[in-house]
Amino acid sequence: MIKAILIFNNHGKPRLIRFYQYFAEDMQQQIIRETFHLVSKRDDNVCNFLEGGSLIGGSDYKLIYRHYATLYFVFCVDSSESELGILDLIQVFVETLDKCFENVCELDLIFHMDKVHYILQEVVMGGMVLETNMNEIVAQVEVQNRMEKSEVSLFLDR
């Protein structure tokens, strides 16, 4: 199970946080800080897995992360997930964002936080993987987009 998905930039500013297990707000912030601290001090050519921090659940949990340009994508998962599988999943998620936003960059994540959430929801639900096929995910996002468009024009007509 995926316990949390964290995206933050090179300075530790959170860009998306999603917890699939309940943590109080201040705990969430502590986890983000701890995770950033653990991940950011690692070189780029070391492995992409490390044992989870003390806060999120001890030695059964691993942090699996990828670093893209200015952003870290960190998935906190338990031992029931395949490490390499999760790396692929992160890649699918990022490629999907790239397709949806056309050359996604950090600013897209900042100004369209809600959209990023909706895209993530098509990939992961309640901590489990819903879909891994990028075309399927993009198709779902397009359906949403069409519904949104039709409502916007409806709204302007009024």
Binding site: R42, F101, Y118, M125, Q144
Partner: protein, 925 residues
């Protein structure tokens, strides 16, 4: 065209975000946020009704503020209102806010449930998905109560859209995890399993998570998934990379689903059906073959995906642990990865090999990679990888390579990261003890350990070396010589002083013949360290000094002088002062004989589990060591204490605790055969009443889960019991009470064990009570309880009773705490059919939670919380300590309150123990 429309967002939101980004300082940011919060609050409270768009905008701002780390304590109601909007985007943001910010015990759940109910029945697939997402993300019990019966129907209905099916599967999984009692799969089971055959791979992807979880909980009901999973896997594995179109990821067909299928199969033993098994073996071989093919792409994603499947296949092979051919291939494959240029692969290979090392088929094959692993420990740049290498060295260590591995770990310790030093020290200490053939090597190793990493050497480690030196007289002289040399170093660690003080105090005489280490030289060497040490170490040194006075009378004057000086005898520390005063007095007034008796060499320590091992288990969670532990007890016959060859004399050596009572009577419980019992009954069955009361067996049963109480009672006699157990030893106090006013004459009790207890008083006065103590040692596992024969004359009649003593195998449990994943890993490891014993039975007693918990704790195991996904179930873990062996036991009790039934499952590393425990416990609930 981008799928996301960037242009038509909410302008107010964009402006706010820009403002925040332009803030020059943290203070400015907080100020801007507070201003916005005040604005939103006033808008929400205002008289003017807000339109949906504004609500949506403000809720979105709140989400952004939350992301920045600020608490949001309002807006929930507005978000709930958005749920009932007809506009998709408003509904969507409402659900998002609730998923992110509402926890499962919110008071709003009922309102949210209403909205969900409407959306689920809307027949609009997009709305249904939103509602299902919300349930899956919040997953409260109230939601389970409202929707648990509805969702399986949506999942299997023929007309449900694929995307809705996917969401429904994961939604159901979430509800099952939070409230398994409410999700009744019964009639849906087979249709859910058949989702594995669904045409839409997305549906299979979502469903397999659900099926895996259900299979872990109810393996029998979901057994049919094995053959379906194998055929699905086989279709994927044998397909060309273009067959699965969209589910092909960088030329690898459906890697995620393949991994999940291989994980699902790890819930089960190898398929029994030959055809299914053949097909699966074929799949595994194909996967292993593909690893050798040239890559279809140079992209890292391609190799990642391919190897993700490969590692899962290897895990499955290790899990089955039955195909030597595949195991060796797996091992060779991992061996290749050990030298791969991708750090990720080296890391994973080391991790997988760790589990492979415990399989008897592949242990030797793993060992061939020792040089590579040692090299990894020395040269890897990444600490995560070095840690895995150290773990693997620990796992692959056996008698043949122990010296090399321990030496490498020691040299690594000099430069090891601080974060892992303590664990490394424990591991070195354990390996050195476990595989010590010659104990001088052991002593050298531990002293090296103290020299290199003294700060990380915990109490347990240096206690242990002393225990071993005391218990083995062949190493004492060497130990004395070595510590003496080690203490010569100008700066030696305080732990070295402790070990040195203790050992020289006991065995300094063994090296005193050499003028270079004459008694006075030894003393001066120790005393030169005295002033640099902490109080506890000084106290230990003072004891060493008084021992010196006994060992070497010629040092008496010098030492007395030291004790007499003000810094000792008037020391501000009470403990030090008291020792100085008492030792000084003792040495001046006691005769040589008395001194020799008081300060005699320490008696051997009772053999028991290494305290270091216990410490490592505590530190790492039991999983880390236990795997090898269980294996070793099989392979090595319990060499753990390093005292296997001391076996015979430990029984006769009084342990310090028994000394106190002076009547230790080793009672090998396991050696109480029924035939001996009946023989004794025959001998004693002279005229008189022989009463083996049937009722006593009822009393007896009560003692399985408790240690104290009344074992037997009739009109004449009451027998009470108090007992305590530690490791494989126990002590039982029997209280015989005369309930009459008349004396019992010729009162004798004969425990039908191989014991010499002190006989009880032959007369028991009316109304009086006498006591008897039995010392018990568990030599091996057993099922028959020992018998106790009691005879006495009451009036003229000879009374003769035979009772079962409440000594059951579970008394020798040591509780073992472990995490959920460790538990399930070990559960899987104990999957041979004879290792498991299971019973389904009707409840005979209250099914109340507290009562059950008390009973399970009384059993002696650790009751583990948060292990079983179903909170109604109980799981326990413990290790039964017998003299020669440790038996790991896992227990699971599944109550069914409606049916008033239980299902009890035991898995132990020894099959006779599983059966016996199962019989015993089935009577308890």
């Amino acid at each position: 065209m981008p799928a996301v429309s960037k242009g038509d967002g909410m302008r107010g939101l964009a402006v706010f975000i820009s403002d925040i980004r332009n803030c020059k300082s943290k203070e400015a940011e907080i100020k801007r946020i507070n201003k916005e919060l005040a604005n939103i609050r006033s808008k929400f409270k205002g008289d003017k009704a807000l339109d949906g768009y504004s609500k949506k905008k403000y809720v979105c701002k709140l989400l952004f503020i939350f992301l920045l780390g600020h608490d949001i304590d309002f807006g929930h109601m507005e978000a709930v209102n958005l749920l009932s909007s007809n506009k998709y985007t408003e509904k969507q943001i409402g659900y998002l806010f609730i998923s992110v910010l509402v926890n499962s015990n919110s008071e709003l759940i009922r309102l949210i449930n209403n909205a969900i109910k409407n959306d689920l029945s809307s027949r609009n697939p997009t709305f249904m998905c939103l509602a299902l997402h919300c349930i899956a993300n919040v997953g409260s019990r109230e939601m389970a109560e409202a929707f648990a019966s509805e969702i399986p129907r949506i999942l299997v209905a023929g007309d449900t859209m694929d995307s809705v099916k996917q969401s429904a599967a994961l939604c159901l999984l979430r509800l099952y995890k939070t409230s398994p009692d409410l999700v009744l799969m019964g009639e849906w089971t087979s249709r859910v399993v058949h989702l594995l055959n669904d045409q839409h791979m997305g549906v299979v992807t979502a469903a397999i998570s659900l099926i895996t979880c259900l299979s872990q909980k109810n393996p029998d009901e979901f057994k049919t998934c094995v053959s379906l999973a194998v055929s699905r896997l086989s279709r994927i594995v044998s397909s060309a990379s273009t067959d699965l179109q969209d589910y092909t990821y960088y030329f690898v067909p459906a890697p995620w689903l393949s991994c999940k299928l291989l994980r699902l199969l790890q819930c089960y033993p190898p398929p029994e059906d030959g055809a299914v098994k053949g097909r699966l073996v074929e799949c595994l071989e194909t996967i292993l073959n593909k690893a050798q093919e040239p890559p279809k792409s140079k992209k890292v994603q391609h190799s990642n995906a391919k190897n993700a499947i490969l590692f899962e296949a290897i895990s499955l092979i290790i899990h089955y642990d039955s195909e030597p051919n595949l195991l060796v291939r797996a091992c060779n494959q991992l061996g290749q990865f050990l030298q791969h240029r991708e750090t990720n692969l080296r890391y994973l290979a080391l991790e997988s090999m760790c589990t492979l090392a415990s399989s008897e088929f592949s242990h030797e094959a793993v060992k061939t990679h020792i040089e590579t692993v040692i090299n990894a420990l020395k040269t890897e740049r990444d600490v995560s990888v070095r840690q895995r290498a150290a773990d693997l060295l620990y796992a692959m260590c056996d008698r043949s390579n122990a010296k090399q591995i321990v030496a490498e770990m020691l040299s690594y310790l000099e430069t090891a990261d601080y974060s892992i030093r303590e664990e490394m020290v424990l591991k070195v200490a354990i390996l050195a003890e476990k595989y010590a053939v010659d104990y001088s090597w052991y002593v050298d190793t531990i002293l090296n350990l103290i020299r290199i990493a003294g700060d990380y050497v915990s109490e347990e480690v240096w206690y242990r070396v002393i225990q071993i030196v005391i218990n083995r007289d062949d190493v004492q002289g060497y130990a004395a010589k070595t510590v003496f040399e080690a203490l010569q170093a100008p700066a030696c660690h305080e732990n070295m002083v402790k070990v040195g003080g203790y050992i020289l105090g006991e065995f300094g005489n063994l090296i005193a013949g050499d003028p270079r280490s004459s008694p006075l030289v030894q003393f001066n060497l120790l005393h030169s360290k005295f002033h640099l040490c902490s109080v506890p170490t000084r106290a230990l040194l003072l004891s060493a000094y008084i021992k010196f006075i006994n060992l070497f009378p010629e040092t008496k004057a010098t030492i007395q002088e030291v004790l007499r000086c003000d810094s000792q005898i008037r020391n501000s520390d009470v403990e030090l002062q008291q020792r100085a005063v008492e030792y000084l007095k003792l040495s001046s007034i006691a005769s040589t004989d008395v001194l020799a008796t008081v300060l005699e060499e320490m008696p051997p320590f009772p053999e028991r589990e290494s305290s270091i091992l216990a410490k490592l288990k505590k530190k790492k969670g039991p999983g880390a060591v236990s795997v090898t532990e269980l294996e070793d007890s099989k392979r090595e016959g319990g060499e753990l204490n390093g005292g296997g060859d001391r076996g015979p004399d430990t029984a006769s050596t009084p342990s310090p605790s028994a000394d106190l009572l002076g009547i230790r009577s080793a009672a090998p419980v396991g050696a109480a055969p029924a035939s001996a019992g009946s023989l004794l009954v025959d001998v004693f069955s002279e005229a008189g009443t022989t009463t083996t009361l049937p009722s006593s067996s009822l009393f007896w049963l009560l003692f399985v889960c408790k240690n104290n109480g009344v074992l037997f009672e009739n009109q004449l006699l009451q027998i009470g019991i108090k007992s305590e157990y530690r490791q494989n030893l126990g002590r039982m106090y029997l209280f015989y009470g005369n309930k009459t006013s008349v004396q019992f004459a010729s009162f004798t009790t004969t425990p039908q064990l191989n014991v010499q207890t002190k006989p009880v008083e032959p007369l028991v006065e009316g109304g009086a009570q006498i006591q008897q103590v039995l010392n018990i040692e568990c030599l091996t596992d057993f099922s028959d309880a020992p018998l106790l024969n009691i005879k006495f004359r009451y009036g003229g009649a000879l009374q003769n009773l035979t009772l079962k003593l409440p000594v059951t195998i579970n008394k020798f449990f040591q509780p073992t705490e472990m995490t959920s994943s460790d538990f399930f890993q070990r559960w899987k490891q104990l999957s041979q059919p004879q290792q498991e014993a299971q019973k389904i039975f009707k409840a005979n007693h209250s099914m109340d939670t507290e009562v059950l918990k008390a009973k399970l704790l009384g059993l002696g195991t650790a009751l583990l919380d948060n292990v079983d996904p179903n909170p109604e179930n109980y799981v326990c873990a413990g290790v039964i300590q017998t003299k020669g062996q440790q038996v790991g036991c896992l227990l699971r009790l599944e109550p069914n309150a409606q049916a008033q039934m239980y299902r009890l499952t035991l898995r132990c590393s020894k099959d006779s123990v599983s059966r016996r425990l199962c019989e015993l416990l089935a009577e308890q609930f």
